[in-house]
């Protein structure tokens, strides 16, 4: 005889339980149309771990489906554009690293390009090559982070550790040339801050070789994972027209089948010298947005290899760049393909040592706006996954 059967039930149930039973009975007996069902308003953020930064969203839910989303941004707003107006051109350079902190090299590069264009400074060949190598490796870092976080959101913890190991090796390489691991401050107006130390190029080659040989395994680990595929394929679909209408740029736009990459559309720096492709996909779902980055990462490695073969000797800073750059009055716009999309700087100069106006065109800002428009009518569980594939960087959104 088990213990359960030994226990005697009380003769009478406690009052509270009786009341509850009565409520349930009453609900059952009600006709269906009097049962109240209402939309639920819930809040995520500002510090939800899967919001990739400080993002708050207020959502109206009908069951599991989102009917309205109201994003609240600006928690990280530092008004860099105002800061820029009160500093000299060179003093603003470190601030650019604090915008898209996962691809800081590309940010600094874009700003330096804009000021050089304005002041008419010609960058030496070697500096251009170093910028390309650093920039493309930084794009690889940024994409590696995107997968790992997306994997974590889908419940895959292993890729996080595996891919972060590669990322760490890359950060070690950056530490050697720039002296920092996150906010590099590597670009300078007229060149770069430091030359590559002895043997650095060989170490980059070794890194690329190891990463290449591991990529196949990593692919299977995340992109071949059944759960990851289930969570990604056919979810969050955006058509090409919709993507353009919403103002998406970068890998997310190319995943919808629009062939727009600044490196090809408006070639800057020395990109015309390299042989690389812009990967395109047509489904526009979560999986494609992630896979696009995987292909792009391989193209980046290809560009770095070519740059390593071609890099000439020479100076890394342009001659005669004054310490206090005073560009002539005028306006300038320079843009690069950042890891998240088209990143541009629009600078107005009045001839003084301080910029009159610096406008930063942040790709994440446009992509986040698109995310909040397209996420309606999706399941709540998918929102985080879709958010992960857009990969906005909040340092850049809020600026």
């Amino acid at each position: 005889m088990s213990k359960l059967e030994e226990q005697k039930l009380p003769d009478k149930l406690p009052d509270s339980l009786l009341e509850r039973e009565f409520e349930i009975e009453e609900l059952k007996s009600r006709p269906e149309d009097t049962i109240v069902s209402q939309e639920l308003t819930i809040n995520i953020g500002p510090h939800h771990p899967s919001t990739h930064g400080v993002f708050r969203a207020i959502m109206d839910m009908d069951g599991e489906i989102i009917t309205r989303i109201e994003p609240v941004i600006g928690h990280l707003h530092r008004c860099f554009e105002k800061i820029a107006e009160n500093r000299s051109y060179a003093q603003f350079m470190p601030f650019t690293d604090r915008m898209d902190y996962t691809s800081a090299m590309l940010n600094g590069w874009a700003y330096a390009m804009a000021v050089e264009k304005l002041a008419g400074i010609q960058v030496p060949e070697r500096a251009e090559y170093l910028r390309v190598i650093a920039g493309e490796l930084n794009r690889a870092i940024s994409h590696l982070m995107t997968y790992t976080f997306s994997g974590l959101e889908a419940g895959a913890v292993t890729p996080f550790f595996w891919w972060f190991e590669e990322r760490d090796k890359l950060l070690d390489l950056f530490e050697e040339i720039a002296g920092a691991r996150m906010t590099f401050n590597y670009a300078r107006i007229g060149g770069v801050s430091g030359d590559a130390p002895d043997g650095w190029f060989d170490r980059v080659r070794d890194f690329i070789k190891t990463l290449r040989s591991n990529l196949d395994e990593y692919y299977k680990l995340l992109f071949g994972n059944y759960i990851f595929k289930k969570r990604m394929k056919g979810i969050g679909v955006i058509s090409a027209e919709e993507a353009i209408r919403l103002g998406i740029t970068g890998p997310c736009l190319r995943a919808s089948g629009v062939n727009y990459d600044v490196r090809k559309a408006d070639p800057y720096s020395i990109y015309p010298r390299f042989d690389f492709e812009v990967p395109i996909s047509y489904k526009g779902d979560n999986y494609d947005r992630m896979y696009m980055r995987f292909l792009e990462l391989q193209q980046s490695l290809r560009i770095v290899e070519q740059a390593l073969d071609q890099i000439p000797d020479g100076p890394i800073m342009a001659e005669g760049v004054p310490r206090l750059v005073c560009p002539p009055p005028g306006e300038v716009y320079a843009h690069v393909e950042s890891s998240r999309g088209a990143l541009g700087y629009y600078i107005v100069s009045d001839g003084s040592p301080k910029p009159y106006r610096v406008k930063i065109q942040a790709p994440s800002f446009g992509n986040l706006q698109a995310f909040t428009s397209m996420v309606v009518n999706n399941y709540f569980a998918d929102v985080i996954m879709i958010f992960g594939t857009f990969d906005p960087c909040f340092g850049e959104v809020d600026r």
């Binding site: 600006g74 103002g247 727009y260 206090l324 629009y346 600026r399």
Partner: protein, 165 residues
């Protein structure tokens, strides 16, 4: 998609709306419109295939605010972007909203409203986007200042001359 506008270097082409596109040093193709003609010019650009909206930038001058719009064409064979400039007097900072032409302009117009105090007529949801709703003033105006600015504006030229003397 219409490819009837042929933009070559040095060639000034007339847009639907009666405005001319010129090539400006440092910026590329630019078209300057009056405030009243903005909607017409924007619709013309959209018709000509400029479908991807990039950003709006305000520039604060003593008497006026210049607005610079950047749009890009993904449809044209020679993909390129264009700048559209217009000026608004500071005493009357109102301009037509372009949200119904380019929906992506929504947040960018809110940003310009937040930081420059520009009113966009016809915007569906014109609220502050970065600053809290109860914030006073528009930070990117040149005359803006508050106690929270730890380092105030300083003059580099004046500083360097002080050291020499």
């Amino acid at each position: 998609m219409s490819d009837d506008i042929n933009l070559d270097e040095g060639q000034n082409e007339e847009m639907p709306g009666g405005v001319k596109i010129i090539r400006e040093e440092g910026l590329g193709y630019t078209l300057t419109v009056k405030r009243e003609d903005l909607l017409k010019a924007a619709a013309g650009l959209k018709e000509a295939g400029f479908d991807l909206f990039k950003f709006i930038s305000g520039v604060d001058y003593p008497d006026r605010i210049k607005l610079v719009y950047r749009v890009f064409s993904t449809k044209r064979q020679n993909r390129f972007g264009i700048f559209m400039k217009t000026e608004v007097p500071k005493s009357d900072p109102i301009i037509d909203s372009l949200v119904h032409i380019w929906p992506a302009a929504n947040w960018h117009e809110r940003e310009t409203y937040d930081l420059y105090g520009m009113e966009f007529k016809g915007h569906p949801n014109l609220r502050r986007i970065f600053m809290p709703d109860d914030w006073v003033g528009h930070p990117l105006r040149k005359d803006y200042s508050d106690d929270r600015m730890i380092v105030g504006p300083f003059n580099l030229v004046a500083d360097s001359s002080k050291k020499e003397s």
